[in-house]
Assembly symmetry: C2
Homo-oligomer: 344 residues x 2
DNA sequence: TTGAAAGCGCTACCAA
DNA sequence: TTGGTAGCGCTTTCAA
């Protein structure tokens, strides 16, 4: 077999190779160390102004960009905060929270990376995340268990924060219990004299983590009373809503708590088309307090949900990173307030 | 000054250090090479079954997770496809596209990473992205210019794809010209006999990239006719909409194309509250064909926007990565179709 | 003020 | 079938 020799070093400046700090050093006529000092503005070392200029000039000329992986490999740590990319389209509430969080972490000099984990679930996904050696991991929803947290911690994550219904051993927790949202709605409907309460549960997959607790909250609100609670699975299509509305009178329900304002609008429209009056025949309560609800007629009664502030979470992350030995913090952060309007 | 000596190697198995492949090798009593072979299922080398078992067992026991940065540093390339994380909350259309793209790229064994670039703009941001040495970069919107593309290419990105109104030198382009959306609406309104057309332009920052072309499209649709086009800046609040509606009759407008269905709903509601009849007094056309529009009364006429398929984009990326020398591909991918309903 | 060199964790080449 | 080892790009200590 014929051996093809490697290209001898410094023979031809290889066609399209990516410039390294060594290339910059060569062009500037200095050592790699000096390049590093100059480009990182190292204060511990004094480099003459002419040298600095030469180095910078060479870097610019070559279009040099440092290699983040090499840098963090050498440093032994990174400033990467990793979050799984949402698998289901995120609503405006969560989007806003995310944007706020990103900019708050950015100000603290962290870089937020959303990692698209395709098929992997919970603790398996944690392994994939751990390969990136993030300094912190933020995980919305349930799904990450103690094993996943352990993998992440073992691989150097100095903070693991879950944002979900319950805390996970070893991780910080921002408890966002959507049960309170349902409870808020249920209590309101019951106080308004409603006794046969339907709860719209999205038929779409991926929303169970929110819909189940919201349903449970309604149940808890009327526990021990004579009121009944009925789950109403509903796909987000006009046809499905029309079908549900068509059999409405047969159900005898006098109130409905929809999963959120969008499902509420969908159902309310179908009910009105069917001749069912809102709120006379049936009270309708939505959730999430979207602009949408204010524009409906009757105006939609809703549960306003208060997500944690992105800034607070950013500070929690920063604290945890600086003080990795500390006790896991647990905060209850989901506020639920009823916003009474006209629909119930 | 007292020198604190480094911990001598292999003295104490350092408290909370992250296990490396060397640790696995030590525990299994083999070399690091063997560990690498086993854990990567290297087919070129035959390793005995007992050895394999020992290695795997050791890895499991230590909770070993490979270090992605070290791996890709060694390999000289990664499978990371980088996208900037949207700075403004993404709508359902884009979210769905993104989810589809992620899973399609995942099937091709790429990893999608959304990188939260906080304050940086366009070509500066490109530098930050380049530090991660992604194999491909997908950039929605305008903002990335030829210099940015050059930086990314120089730093090893084998594919740069822009998703925006116009192509950028050196990059592949998925041309999504929102001008066509406005044109579609404008032509429809003009054909329906409307002559004084208002166009709602969001007052919110960050939407100009879409709103400006949509407005321009309406202008083009009526160019050379006696119709007029008036831009109507509108913030996404009830108050702003009410103010606009209050001065509506004075404007003499007989049609309005809203930026999207949500702004259309906001304005339509305000107009109706003001006693302006839709579609008799004013035709209303939205955009994006959200579920929302079907539920309004009158049902909202809208422009259906067809985003490119995530699968097609994934294939384009894969082609470009495999054939990095190829000519940049340019595809016109944004379909705009009018969906006539009742509001105009 | 600058340079030489070690080494972060990993893979792949070559030798045994 | 397995081990030794070079080297990816970078920072940083130590020496000059």
């Amino acid at each position: 077999m014929v051996q093809i020799p490697n290209t001898p070093p410094s023979a031809v400046p290889a066609q399209h190779s990516v410039p390294t700090s060594a290339d910059v050093a060569r062009l500037a006529g200095v050592s790699r160390a000096t390049v590093s000092y100059v480009l990182n503005n190292a204060t511990a070392v004094r480099i003459s102004e002419p040298t600095r200029r030469r180095v910078r000039e060479a870097a610019r000329e070559l279009g040099y960009v440092p290699h983040a992986a090499a840098r963090s490999l050498r440093a032994g740590h990174s400033r990467m905060v990793l979050m799984p990319a949402p698998a289901i389209p995120a609503g405006p509430l969560y989007s806003r929270f995310l944007a706020e969080l990103q900019s708050a972490l950015g100000r603290l000099d962290y870089t937020v990376v959303q990692y698209g984990t395709v098929g992997l679930q919970g603790d398996e996904a944690a392994r994939a995340w751990a390969e990136l050696r993030p300094v912190a991991v933020l995980v919305p929803g349930a799904g990450l268990g103690p094993p996943g947290v352990a993998v992440l911690r073992r691989s150097g994550a100095r903070a693991v924060v879950t944002l979900g219904p319950e805390r996970v051993e070893g991780a910080h927790a921002l408890l966002m219990d959507h049960e309170a949202v349902g409870h808020c709605a249920g209590a309101h409907l019951h106080a308004g004299g409603r006794r046969r309460i339907g709860v719209v549960v999205p038929a779409e997959a991926g929303l169970e983590a929110f819909s189940r607790p919201r349903l449970a909250g309604v149940r808890r609100a009327v526990r021990g009373t004579d009121a009944t609670v009925t789950a109403l699975p509903l796909a987000y299509t006009e046809q499905a809503a029309a079908r549900l509305a068509a059999r409405w009178r047969g159900t005898g329900l006098d109130a409905v708590f929809a999963y959120n304002d969008e499902y509420a609008m969908l159902l309310m429209r179908a009910l009105q088309d069917e001749g069912v009056r809102v709120p006379e025949d049936v009270a309708v309560v939505g959730a999430d307090d979207l602009m949408l609800g204010r524009l409906l007629r009757p105006r939609l009664t809703t549960v306003h949900v208060e997500l944690p502030s992105g800034r607070d979470l950013a500070e929690l992350v920063d604290r945890a990173v600086r003080e990795p030995g500390g006790e896991p913090e647990v905060h209850r952060v989901l506020g639920a307030t009823l916003v009474p309007r006209e629909s119930g």
